[in-house]
């Protein structure tokens, strides 16, 4: 007898350790999608009961109550109640509470348990409780709540077997009379949460010292921001320096593959498509995987340690001065990796005007797709010298490009909040989670997902675009004595565009690279690589590093202008598509597209003329 797999949902307060438990129960077998009609991420994975029966586990957004104060919380309520479109009502719930913060977490737990659905309570993060000298009595808690209580340490995979077994048991038993009163207000729940917590705590010591000590430094009015900026600076230096050996190795692999194809296959169009199109194009993008992984590593570690919320706190004042809040900091920081998850992360911003402003400026944060462009241009034009202990000039220029994006974003936010997204000043209320040691496993799962998404992009969009571009560049074939690029369709298209971008210092090759870069910014690099590979008939020259070719062909003002263009230009159709989905219409994505192109044009032009005037 077979039936549809059971659906189990994880619910609980933010910072209860739900995601760690989700990772521990499902491993890397996770699927991330969106709930239909809303823009809240749906995280689902597969867990297996002891009987071998598989079940679908969904990780619901952290909530304080079923009375939602954000779109995330509304989804949690709707899924649990069975009102969420496209989502079966869960067969059982796992309420996750942080053992260290019982009197707070038991408030929402009571609300969940009072539904009378099959429910198990996971008393999580017991290791941290022990560290803080907290001794708990789960049996007492079980008695006052009327549902099974399982002690878990998600990170050490402790209590997982017991939890799974208990979930299987309550699922079989089905719904029951609620074990807790149903019509109670929040004040009454608070009173009983406190009583329950008191009854379950056998002994406790005073507050956590480590946590306090760290906050004293990290939230210090002026040491805190200094630490934050130092940290961000290290991140960007690391992205550039640490990734180099890995990127070189990947480059070597691509070059070896290209050589192997050349020696083993007869010369012809197909071979050219593989070496000049596929390997030159996709290969030159894939080599940036190490940098993307390093950037995401820092973002994930900052999230996992609890530092990200502190960063939001520290940034709140600055964000408030342009009409935003510290909450916008997290989406904007994610946008440094990619604007798409960044724009999706704006869902946690409660104020709609605030959220819209954040969406509109998210593309100004330097995403990882710009890194390939920046990296190639910087490596080709900026000498690799040091300007101070541990500070390389190349890293400094990269840092300046990031700062340009941030300053631009702040100015735009300032203007937007006083014009199109005018409204009441937004607020900022946020729980600062306890500090935690990041777990290698959770970071690894996060990195795997990000890396996979990037490679899938390289394998689909970028692959298609580079092949199409190669075709446009290779046909019609040049007459003898004629330059192939000039003869091609792409060359003709670029001629038109070149007229428009000529005043800002762009040559025809640069104009040409902007066309496919609309699909994904990093394609600009592969497009340049493809262009220069096609232009040369000599195999050795094809193999010559792109950077050297660029340094020979472009002047420094041209290169700087190209960099300035990429700081602002909305060269990413996927971002526009996501913005359309998140704002429910074409109006805002079009506003975004227009203002970003205008800014890019002005910035690139100003850079070119200033650099030329300065005699660079």
């Amino acid at each position: 007898m077979s039936r549809a797999p059971r659906t189990i949902a994880l619910v609980g307060n933010p910072n209860a350790g739900k995601s760690a438990l989700f990772n521990a129960l499902t491993g890397a077998r996770q699927k991330i999608a969106n709930y239909p009609g809303v823009t809240v991420e749906r995280k689902a994975g597969r867990m297996t009961f002891a009987s071998g029966e598989p079940a679908e586990l969904i990780d619901l957004p952290g909530s304080y109550s079923f009375e939602p104060s954000s779109p995330d919380e509304a989804v949690t309520r709707d899924v649990v109640m069975g009102h969420q479109e496209g989502q079966r009502r869960p067969d059982a719930l796992i309420v996750v509470v942080d053992a260290n913060n019982l009197e707070q977490h038991l408030v929402f737990a009571q609300e969940v348990i009072a539904l009378g659905m099959p429910t198990v309570l996971a008393l999580n993060m017991l290791d941290l409780a022990a560290r803080d000298g907290l001794v708990l009595d789960p049996k007492a808690l079980e008695e006052s709540l009327g549902v099974p209580v399982i002690e878990t340490v998600a990170v050490r995979r402790k209590g997982l077997t017991e939890l799974t077994a208990e979930v299987a048991k309550v699922t079989e038993e089905g719904a029951h009379e609620p074990t807790l009163p149903t019509h109670v207000d929040i004040v009454e729940r608070r009173v009983s949460a406190r009583a329950m917590a008191k009854g379950a705590i056998i002994s406790e010591t005073k507050q956590r010292r480590l946590h306090r000590g760290l906050d004293k430094v990290l939230l210090h009015p002026w040491i805190g921001p200094v630490v934050l900026f130092a940290l961000l600076f290290i991140v960007f230096q690391a992205v550039f320096a640490w990734a180099a050996p890995f990127a070189d190795a990947l480059e070597g692999v691509v070059a070896a593959l290209s050589d192997a194809v050349v020696t083993n296959f007869p010369a012809g169009l197909l071979r050219d498509a593989v070496t000049e199109g596929l390997l030159a194009g996709v290969g030159s993008v894939v080599v940036f995987l190490p940098q993307i992984i390093i950037l995401f590593f820092f973002i994930l570690v900052m999230e996992a340690t609890g530092y990200m919320a502190r960063a939001a706190y520290l940034m709140d004042r600055m964000m408030a001065s342009v009409g935003l809040s510290g909450r916008s900091f997290i989406p904007l920081l994610s946008s440094f990796a990619c604007a798409i998850p960044g724009i999706m992360a704006t869902r946690s911003i409660t104020d709609p005007k605030d959220r819209l402003t954040t969406i509109l400026i998210a593309p100004l944060m330097t995403c990882s797709a710009r890194l390939p462009v920046y990296a190639v241009i910087i490596a080709a034009f900026i000498p690799a010298q040091t300007v101070g202990p541990g500070i390389g000039l190349q890293g400094l220029v990269l840092f300046a490009l990031y700062v340009a994006g941030i300053v631009g974003a702040m100015l735009v936010a300032f203007v937007l909040r006083r014009s199109v997204t005018q409204g009441a000043a937004s607020g900022f209320i946020m729980e600062l989670p306890r500090y935690q040691w990041p777990r290698a496993r959770d970071i690894a799962i996060g990195l795997w997902q990000r890396g996979y998404i990037f490679l899938r992009r390289a394998g689909t969009i970028i692959f298609t675009v580079t092949i199409v571009l190669w075709l446009l560049l290779s046909f019609p074939q040049a007459e003898p004595g004629e330059n192939q690029v000039d003869a091609s369709i792409a060359g003709k298209l670029a001629n038109g565009l070149a007229v428009v971008v000529e005043p800002i210092g762009f040559n025809r090759d640069m104009a040409l690279s902007l066309i496919p870069a609309m699909a994904a910014r990093e394609v600009a690099v592969s497009s340049l690589a493809t262009t220069y590979a096609v232009a040369s008939d000599d195999e050795d020259e094809t193999a010559e590093a792109l950077g050297t070719r660029l340094a020979a062909d472009w002047t420094l003002p041209m290169a700087l202008s190209f960099l300035a263009w990429f700081v602002f230009a909305p060269q990413c159709l996927s971002t526009i598509a996501v913005a359309k989905r998140e704002t429910n219409g074409w109006k805002w994505p079009i506003v975004m597209l227009l203002y970003l192109f205008a800014l890019a044009y002005i910035a690139a032009g100003a850079t070119f003329w200033i650099a030329t005037a300065a005699g660079l």
Binding site: E103, V107, R190, D215, P221, Y313, D316, R317, A320, G427
Partner: protein, 102 residues
């Protein structure tokens, strides 16, 4: 009587425990009011300002309540009326009347 004078949370110095005696919910955004209540910031809560920003208005403010640290803005703190509660440990609202008496 000065020790029991009511004042706004925004005007309190760092470090002293204070009890919330009233919150002017009307001046707060509905969603924010809900969020504050959900975090246990309501009449009866005892809390402590742990950190403040450096610039104008020393905004934002981080408070300790129960085992949590919560960041909020000066605008919210202005709506929260408190009295000194020097002998109490910080905790969210929800204490019973008998506990207040102590």
């Amino acid at each position: 009587m000065t020790a029991h004078a009511e004042m706004s949370l925004a005007d309190r110095p760092l470090g002293n425990a204070v009890r919330v005696v009233a919150v002017d919910w009307a001046v707060l955004d509905e969603g924010e009011a809900r969020r504050l209540r959900a975090l246990g910031i309501d009449s009866g809560a005892v809390l402590k300002i742990a950190h403040r920003g450096i610039f104008s208005g020393r905004d934002p403010i981080a408070i300790e309540i129960g085992r949590m640290t919560v960041a909020l803005r000066r605008a919210h703190a202005l709506a929260i009326t408190v009295v000194d509660a020097p002998d109490e440990g910080v905790h969210p609202s929800g204490h019973t009347a008998s506990e207040y008496a102590k």
